[in-house]
Amino acid sequence: MGIIDKLNAVKNTVPHYWPIGSFIHHNPLKGFEHLSFKDGLNKAQKTYGGKVYMEPSYYLKFYNEGKISHSILEENLKEVLEEDGLAKYYDLAMKCLLEVNPQWNHFRKQADSKDHEVDEELLAYLDDEFSYHNKERWLKQITKNMTLYEINDILFHRDDKEAIEKSIIEYVARFLDEDQTTLSMQNRELGMFETFKLYEDFDYPHDSEKFVEEAFEKLRVKNKERYLLNHLLKLHGWAGFIKYRSEDPNYYSQQQYPSSLMDYMAIRLYYEIVYLEHREINNFDLLHEYSLKNSAYVILKMIKYKYNLPGKYIDAMESSKNYEDILERYVQEELQLDAKQVHLSNDILKNSDIPLVELAKIMEILREEEGYIWLKSLEDTYIHKFIDEMKLTENSQNERPLASVTMCLDVRSEIMRRAIEKSGPYTTYGAGGFLGFPISFVEFEKAHEQFLCPAVITPQNIVFELPIETNDEYKSKKTINKTTKSVVSSLKNNPYTPYIMVEAIGWIFGINLFGKTFLPQKTEKFFSNFKAKKPQTTYTLDKLSDDEIEMYVNKLHLHIIHEAVVSNSSQKYSQEDLQAIRDHIILGKALSVDISEELLQKIQENYNVSTKDYEFQKLKLASVGFTLEEKVEYLYKFLTMIGQTDNFAQFVILSGHASISDNNPFESALDCGACGGSSSLPNNRALCMIANSQDVREKIAKKGIIIPLDVKFIPMMHTTSTDEVAFYDTHILSEEEHKKFAQVVEDFKKASSIARRERVTQLPYTSSENDIMIKSMDWSETRPEWGLAGNMGVFAGPRDSIKHMAFGNRLFMHSYDAQLDNENADILTRIFNGPLVVGEWINLEHYFSTVDNAIYGAGSKVYHNVVSKIGVLNGNYSDLKIGLPTQSVLLEGEAYHEPVRLLTYMEAPLELVAKAVENSVAKEFILNEWIRPVIIDKKAKKVYSYESGDFKVIKEF
């Protein structure tokens, strides 16, 4: 097995990290999804060392409040005990769960002061269990996740780790920089490791893989796979980002400046070798030798480093070198404490039947299992409550509503959806914000594409946004702003000017500073006058003809050639000359223009005007827009997916959503997850334009969906931080329609207000609607909205079934009508492949960021600094912070988000669901129970839950 295979075997332990600009929620334990949830979490706990469940006291509080049902807890406990062959100890186990385990650590503290006779057999068992007297095993356990330089630091009071990690972060951050710095690293196009050789000025003829191999030889690494994993986990945020970009062929920065995990490993090992070169122990053979000779000292140092060595033993180590004796004293005390913990538990359990050794074993198993038992009991209680409350009868046909609104399935639509339904004759639907309509979107005046779809999908169609009205004012304001920004930036980055700049114009920034602090709304309004207001736009939705493609590519090339000749030659070239140069390069025509061979070569190589680029541009332009068949197909799929195939409202509103906040690097985490962390408005606008076109309606009617002529599709934008709504493209409405639509606008405005009032009760330090508005523009606000915190489940089925239930923005909702699905469950499969995957990522990211924010989350926003425009650091250098900040999941140190797996309710026949699972990319995590599937089969009148590899009937009706 080569080094690359070994790296491939362990690299999935770290999850992908997407750049923060398009924040993609992800499961930090994605690499463990091939295992069942419970096993995956156990393994992850051993690998990362973090917590994977909440503390028992957290669940116990829910139990005491009645949020966890006693009967469900009983059932789950029995199930686990049966699996472990401990069914006969049910009563004892329940008592342990409720009374002993929450106090387990407290017993250890108490044990110190309580005198208790200790059972000798128990002592012997505990000694063996914790390998106290098997130093080699103990040492192996204790150093399992450590690198050689870390061990060296601990043993010899060094600080190499600090220096090594800092050097790595410095290099990696500079190499991966995406235009944050004004002084970019040179030669990055050579690749990460090749550039590194120049950076460190070391002469090495081979590639990174060879370097890693040689480094392992030098360090005498025995378990290479494990050592690679150890290194990956040291800065797993950076490793995750490098892994992501190296595996995404479309990532522009990766195309420009290639990097790989192997390069990253080589860099890490380079520093390890350099720093260890003159150290006493610079390979594992020497370490092994040293450890054998000084095992007691090494163990004591390791325990001290992990903050587990009580002060008196540290004092003893300072004043004596008799480490064997110190270790033995420590071991004896630990054994006594371990044993006393069991004794104290035994006292509470009033046990006299079971021998203490047996009791210790049972309690050990229970401590391992309790997190899962509590979690599942909490989930099951929620599931039963949901099933009891939802409407289990068939849904009836409603009268024609004035408007229907399809909102993103996002939990934040839930309150708004209910408010709209209450406000008038309106029906609502839910769908993934991209509407099953993936597009590569190029915004007006922007040069780059945004993939507006879930990260697992690559869009095949490009949509450009173009202005449809004169935009002179926009252009002039934009130019002024751009020039001002560029001047300020130049003044800031010039070595001589910042001081003068601060003296001269520093006070201007004060207006913004004080204004935003004391009068945020007025300041926002004032500065909005200076912002360029985007003109009305439309999208390129039709395919380009071959001639048009040819024309655009030609135009682009002429523009580039013009730039090239102006910058590199003093000679003047006419338009005809430029055309001739272009035709010579691209079409191979004879050259009639006087141009040097050198410049021609430059145009081809440096400016990339070549036949290869010509073919590439043609291919790109061929994917602009949609054929009529594609338009019809997307619209058809969307309408059948949400079950809206007849009884159309006069106004069919498709709502995108995004969030507004200030000074928030995590802003895109609050945008649409189904659109790759961007606003979903473009998808909604584009689909509305398609649905309003006559030829599409004619063609879709042939497929059985008749959209009456008076039906108008109107795009809407829901700003989740303020619950404001705005409508787009209303110019297509007639005067008569405008009058009717005015009522919709008015009602939706009221609905916004209702939604805000409900959210006031959820957000801390908020007492009025105005406070909510301020939060979106306050630059010191670390929590502009709760975002997706609190998410607990998703419902796929008709809205009518749960319309009467309020979830306080905790439930994703995807409309689905199983009657419209085919035997192959294509619609449900599509829901699984897009929205469910995104839902699982969102849910588990919140789960793990809550249970252990230090390992899986991003820590406090207050200490964050943006690095390389790809993520945030804690302070001035640290690992790239993955996951969510504490402000997104915690409130005053306590969990605000309730970590439960995604409770996935599907209203569909069981066979259909089974078929969809089988066909879906989500099959692995569904079957391994990383979500909790619940099937409501109204035909069979049964509710099933998928547990332990089987569908279990949990209710019959």
Partner: protein
């Protein structure tokens, strides 16, 4: 001359702790008390006998201070740390002219605080070692605040008295190369050692195996008194600076 030798010894200019540490009869607590008392005696004596610093004495005490700095970086025990600070600051006691004793007096008051903290740790956590008892700020913030005050005072952070007297005496002294070397080295020595201890003692996650205890009324009163003394000295120190400025 004899009086100066006496003051050098009492003020911690010679690292006698080295011998005491080797003897089994002296615990770190008793070395702390002894060296603290001797320094207090020296401070009191300076009010009665003339003190003049001679270069060899300053050099001796400076070498002793460097050794103490090294030792302070090796320990995580508050008692030991306490007396190492005395030896670290001995050159200042020798060097500072006039009412230089006030700097040492402020140091003694800050160390009284450290002593109170060390006793508190010893009583509740079995040792005055702070490494095991991490996360104090989260668990018992009041203890954390007191540790911070004493350490930043020793670390020469204004407006605590040590820094104010240090500033006054540096302004009033005649500088030469030795003076620069001693003052700069010991300024950073005090600062870096204090900050290192502060970082290791009060921050971090709570230790789940420890039953954290907060200060009782008596202890609160004792710490309150020490803080008041520091404030009084600060006021006096500020006056000294103002007098120099004006």
């Amino acid at each position: 001359m004899i009086s100066n030798i006496l003051l050098l010894l009492l003020g911690g200019g010679i690292p006698y702790f080295f011998l005491l540490e080797r003897s089994n009869k002296f615990s770190s607590k008793s070395i702390f008390i002894l060296s603290w008392t001797l320094l207090l005696t020296a401070v009191v004596l300076t009010f009665f006998i003339d003190k003049s610093h001679t270069t060899p004495f300053v050099i001796v005490s400076f070498l002793s201070a460097l050794y103490a700095i090294y030792k302070a970086t090796q320990t995580t025990n508050f008692y030991k740390l306490g007396y190492y600070f005395i030896f670290m600051n001995a050159p200042f006691f020798i060097l500072f002219e006039g009412q230089g004793a006030f700097y040492s007096l402020s140091l003694l008051v800050s160390l009284l605080g450290i002593y109170a903290i060390a006793s508190f740790y010893d009583k509740h956590y079995g040792s005055a070692n702070y490494l095991y008892v991490r996360g104090i700020t989260l668990a018992t913030p009041l203890v954390g605040i007191h540790i911070t005050v004493y350490l930043i005072s020793i670390g020469l952070y204004p407006p605590l008295p040590n820094s104010l007297f240090f500033l006054t005496y540096t302004f009033n002294s005649e500088a030469n190369i030795l003076w620069f070397v001693v003052v700069i080295t010991l300024y950073f020595g005090n600062f870096l050692v204090s900050m290192k201890v502060l970082e290791k003692s009060i921050f971090g996650k709570k230790n789940p195996d420890i039953h954290y205890v907060d200060l009782n009324f008596k202890e609160k009163f004792a710490h309150f008194t020490i803080v008041i003394l520091l404030i009084l000295l600060s006021i006096y120190g500020t006056r000294e600076i103002l007098l120099w400025v004006l």
